[in-house]
Symmetry: C2
Subunit: 277 residues, 2 copies
Amino acid sequence: MTSTAPIHPFDAALQLQPAGPDRYNGHTSAAYWNMVGPFGGTTAALALRAVLNHPDLLGEPLSLTVNYAGALTSGACAVGARAVRTNRSTQHWTVELLQNDADGQPVVTTTATVVTAARRETWSANDTPMPAVPAPDTCAALPQVPGVEWIRRYEMRPIEGGIPRQWDGSGDSSLTRLWMRDNPPRPQDFCSLAAMSDIFFPRVWLRRARQVPAGTVSITVYFHAGAQQLAATGDGYLLGQARAQEFRNGFFDQTGQLWDTGGTLLATTHQIVYFKE
Amino acid sequence: MTSTAPIHPFDAALQLQPAGPDRYNGHTSAAYWNMVGPFGGTTAALALRAVLNHPDLLGEPLSLTVNYAGALTSGACAVGARAVRTNRSTQHWTVELLQNDADGQPVVTTTATVVTAARRETWSANDTPMPAVPAPDTCAALPQVPGVEWIRRYEMRPIEGGIPRQWDGSGDSSLTRLWMRDNPPRPQDFCSLAAMSDIFFPRVWLRRARQVPAGTVSITVYFHAGAQQLAATGDGYLLGQARAQEFRNGFFDQTGQLWDTGGTLLATTHQIVYFKE
């Protein structure tokens, strides 16, 4: 079968070629380029993609932790993904991304662990109701930022806590809420959910109304939705919410939630972020 | 120098002998035994201890993620801890715990990643004030639970959301607040902070007032305090707070905070937990 439909840039960014047991070759994506490296959400999604492509995979993603050990440069990368333990209904993975340094030696840029699980229906309950917010079509879309390519790959409609308009040190809250989806729209899956978990600009910018250098050190995503729920979500908007809990001596944390428009909590996420000054 | 002071059971539980490059030998602790394996907090602390003992260590713990891949049995275990990347001010570690199976073959019971960092003073702010709660000495200490040894190693003084007295399905909240410290008291350090991050009983028991089988699959701890702050905390009480965000199809998450009595947020923590039915 041939298809004339162009591949979505997000799927293009996650293309991996098998390169031996537990190993894949990939490439950073110009379409998701940030200022000095790829958008961290794409890197997290690439680590998860390797696990999901692996022939030994059991079940669906339950948790993902990605540690940004070093900056990726534009070009080829290798992804190692190994199932270190397979139980009856859960599977534990270790993942690393490598790139060659200037001397052609592979160096680890990213480490990750993934847990996948074969889930079954049980008693369920939401303990974090979606906040009451205006509908997506009543919230203006964020204008695109010149020079930051990955932001063009998302449609973001801030509700509150948008990027400060004035960097005047007047900030007093770290809470952001926004509607978001892929641009162009794309049916939600585990990889896009992982990437969108990293969509929030640094909380320190908002809290201080000051744009200091900042970068994610480690992110964790817990997937509450299964494939069936994601299919029901389709390519609709997600409500993202993020806030910091503590800023201290060069690092802050962020805790976040992603709901679909029906109010289903698809994922919760946390990260620890470096900041300067 | 000889010392006649007995070693604290927590320090005894974390004893590791070097066993070659990047490798240590340890032993599970009877003093911290749970119902069918060691207290998960001790396992997390043991993974961190290996990193802190390593001669290549840079800085202090910033983040810790521990994945409970399989149950540990009573006896010897090996801990592998490797610095996969050392930057100017951060260092990335991968850790695994192994035990021999019935055939004498080593199997992975636990995987972990740790980020350590050389921190420096910057602008800092707390965005999660400690809730107003009664002082520790006005809250009754939890009676010890027969048959669960590790609980005897902690002094716990529940404030709200204690273990249900009646398993009658009447629960309506997943929020727990309690004062806690080591028993006997012990000066706080990174390892004890990691262990206390896992002290909360399963949120599903509280939310449902129903005691179903449950166990942590993955836990993450972000350390906001440095060694100096921990020294100031001493062996005083910590206020622990935990709540779930979502219960869905066999798993729920937990988000938590640990403050010292002065209201300093020492750590934030998250976990994803298996539950049955």
